[in-house]
Amino acid sequence: MVRLKNIEELKKIRQEAQKDLLVRTQTGTRIIVGMGTCGIAAGAREVMHAILKELETRKIEAHVETVGCVGMCAKEPLVDIEQAGKSRVRYANILPENVPKLIEEHLVKGNVVHEWAIGRVDARKIQ
């Protein structure tokens, strides 16, 4: 089972997290990574990992979620970024080495990276 030291750390995290949870769920950023067979084979898990690492390095708190195949298998790995008050942008064929630039431009500077963006997404439909 999980070691005691880790459980103590977890309790501390819970106490700290309770304070800021409400704020983040209301104004948060969501990053969604496609994790179907097509995505996994194209490196989606590694892209997810690169995103988590980049967010941690830059101290950006964003929700990261995985979803199944959306039917655009040739465009995998797919990464959608959704920010409160803005439409969701879908990026295609993202590799782990693209992640720092994606985070820097989209999340830090607020620019859509047009060379990788393939559209704006309304629920599961491309507009």
Partner: protein, 186 residues
Amino acid sequence: MRELSHHILDVLENAVEAGASTIKIHIEEDLRADWMVIEIVDNGRGMNPGVIERVFDPFYTTRETRHVGLGLPLLRDAARRCEGDLDIQSEPGKGTRLKVTFRRSHIDRAPLGDMPATLLAVLLSERPVDLEYSHKVGTEEFRFDSSEIRKELEDIPLTHPRVRGWILQTLREREASLSNESRESQ
């Protein structure tokens, strides 16, 4: 797929799509008998016999977003290349049990790879799911149960940035110590 943990992620995603709320994953590496066994049991909606017959057909899939389903045929081929096989049993309304075996030292057996990243990818799924994971190498065993963590966290979700970092770090530490201990005991 370059690692067995990629195949495992694929099977786990199938279970999530099937509506499972709990998925059990057991990996056993028997160093003496030279076998590696991976078992994945979910409590999703299951499949009727007609569907099971067709899961190895690459042109069959239950999804509507595309028309091919390559996951299970790829995994069965990987196992058969290594003197192993894949067995799948399922009952509608109860769930699905998948067992895949490999000759552990077979030259074509892919490395297990990054299991912590695979488990985290599923825990970050948009549909909440709990994982009961155990990995045994020789006589050493490591267990991880996400429902225990959920209980400890009360109203904080597993997907919280601080929590997901903690999960990944904990899994990495335990997987690393497992491989060190098993190497020393060989």
